[in-house]
């Protein structure tokens, strides 16, 4: 008799407790709790932020950070067995896949800018990229001003296209733009002399050079066209999830974990070819880690 009362009480208690929790959860966290799964968006070739290793497993600096965020979600929702799915995304589909709920957390190489903040939200900036150019060392080119009238490659659907346009307008130079459909194609244009320079984020250029056949032939040179904050992306207007992601990333920054991961991915040999990008932390990134924030690119390039 007593045990039955106790049982009923426990059940009632459990019911109320779960009710209370269900009511307090909404948006992405509720979706994760209800489905028992979270889907991470990953990139296939954004070295070293998010890419596939030799075994086609997603690895990278942002993948590591995302896994730490997932740990916090597990803890918060008391779901130690939370299932983590991954979904490959591209520059074109990453925003729709986040807004339509296919991807919960995009762990790629997405620039945080004002136009995108109309559609999605960003975690505090964890990488700051500088847009520069890769050239063949033998060309002797070391400044953008030497590119007037020359073919310059960049990748379709990236912010570099618009940066080159702005630079041409501002400096009165005229590039002959050629466009690759992805970074590998654009790099091929440089390697096969279809272009004398390839303008892109410095970490991607370093990654492409490191994994090319003759890394010694290429160099990243020239003045930066732009400085852009890169961050993990998720759905907008979801304060609960945003709070959790932001506090998780802030804790990782404060504890020095982010710096450790940076060292691992940017200054040490990484898979698949054990190449070392040798990109020490920039002052812009140091600043962003000192006071974690999700400010858009526009604030980085104010002059």
């Amino acid at each position: 008799m007593i045990s039955r009362t106790a049982l009923v009480a426990t059940l009632l208690g459990a019911l109320f407790a779960s009710n209370a929790q269900a009511q307090s959860l909404d948006g992405t966290l509720k979706k994760i709790k209800d489905s028992g799964t979270i889907t991470l968006g990953i990139r296939e070739s954004s070295i070293p932020l998010s890419y596939l290793d030799a075994a086609q497993k997603p690895v990278g600096y942002h993948i590591d950070i995302c896994n730490r965020i997932v740990d916090s979600i597990k803890q918060k929702l008391a779901l130690p067995n939370l299932k983590v799915n991954t979904q490959a995304v591209t520059s074109q589909n990453r925003i729709p896949l986040v807004t339509n709920g296919t991807v919960d957390l995009e762990c790629g190489s997405t620039t945080n800018n004002a136009a995108r903040q109309n559609q999605v939200a960003f975690a505090p900036t964890t990488y700051v990229t500088t847009v520069r150019m890769a050239v063949k060392k033998s060309s002797g080119i070391n400044s953008l001003s030497q590119l007037d009238g020359k073919p310059v490659a960049t990748t379709t659907g990236t912010t570099s296209v618009q940066l080159m346009r702005a630079h041409e307008k501002g400096k009165g130079v005229n590039f002959k733009e050629v466009y690759g459909k992805d970074h590998a194609d654009s790099f091929l244009m440089l390697a096969s002399d279809r272009a004398v320079a390839f303008v892109m984020d410095d970490n991607l250029l370093a990654g492409l050079i490191a994994s090319s056949q003759n890394p010694g032939d290429f160099a990243v040179v020239g003045e930066p066209l732009s400085v852009e904050p890169i961050a993990i992306m998720f759905r907008k207007d979801d304060p609960q999830f945003k709070g959790l992601v932001h506090s998780a990333v802030r804790d990782l920054i404060k504890s020095g974990e982010v710096e450790k991961l940076y060292t691992k991915w940017f200054t040490q040999p990484i898979p698949p070819k054990n190449a070392n990008l040798a990109l020490p932390m920039s002052d812009a990134l140091k600043g962003a880690l000192k006071t974690p924030n999700d400010a858009p690119a526009e604030q980085y390039n104010k002059k």
Binding site: N118, Q119, G157, Q162, R165, S192, V196, R235
Partner: protein, 245 residues
């Protein structure tokens, strides 16, 4: 789904430029039409020629036609485009190779038009061959018996009917060439697919950008369909199968 629609985006100015997105779309439409039409011209001319060769009573001519058709229709279009753009110039003499790769004007346009034209010519050739072979054998025999030479037989008896018969499948090819022209974005031709991708990147308005491209492709393909239907009606031979009511 919390997507923020913005139908004014077409009239927004592109960042760091004097144009609006609409101006981009219009110029992209121009490239799409230019590349499709040039390719269609190449495809029709070569397709008619090769298709005819494949029905000729000469082993060697037939063999040339067979190699042409099988070569161009057994390799994926995107692979062919990359072969023309990246590989072929490497086999040219050094000076010419450098010129083709760096200084040739509108190189993306010419590469895309030629590639798409050759690819489609193989398909057109098959249809023309089918058209010729669908004619009763007696027509050719009668023509030869009346003293026409073989070229005259093709010119005045076989081809005029064969072309009328294959207008419906040619209509599909014409529509296909417009849609297939979208692969040209992969070598950087600033046509509709390219511009819609760039617009997605710069404006953040994914669906508006894709919808504009979708709508324009549909309008172009449907216009091609109407033009071909008009030609089909105008050229029909009363009482004969093609275009008969």
């Amino acid at each position: 789904m919390n997507y923020h629609w913005n139908w004014h985006v077409y009239l927004d100015q592109v960042s760091a430029g004097d144009e609006r997105y609409l101006d981009w779309i219009i110029s992209a439409l121009g490239w799409t039409i230019a590349v499709s039409m040039s390719a269609w011209l190449i495809a029709l001319t070569l397709g008619a020629l090769i298709g005819t060769l494949r029905t000729a009573p000469n082993r060697w001519l037939v063999a040339i036609g067979n190699v042409w058709v099988e070569g161009f229709r057994n390799v994926p279009l995107l692979v062919q485009l990359f072969l023309w753009f990246f590989v072929v110039p490497e086999f040219l003499p050094a000076e010419l190779s450098r010129w083709v790769k760096q200084d040739m004007p509108a190189k993306e346009f010419f590469t895309a038009a030629i590639c798409l034209g050759l690819f489609t010519s193989a398909r057109v050739a098959e249809q023309v061959r089918a058209g010729i072979q669908s004619l009763p054998r007696g027509q050719k025999m009668a023509s030869l018996a009346m003293g026409f030479t073989l070229p005259q037989t093709y010119r005045y008896v076989l081809l005029p009917m064969a072309f009328r018969i294959v207008i419906p499948p040619l209509t599909s090819e014409f529509m296909n060439i417009i849609k297939n022209s979208s692969v040209a974005f992969a070598i950087g031709l600033m046509e509709l697919t390219f511009i819609s991708r760039q617009m997605i990147e710069e404006s953040g308005q994914v669906f508006e950008s894709l919808l504009a491209a979708t709508l324009l492709y549909t309008i172009c393909a449907f216009s091609a369909n109407r033009v071909m239907t008009y030609i089909e009606k105008r050229t029909r031979v009363p009482g004969y199968i093609a275009g008969a009511k």
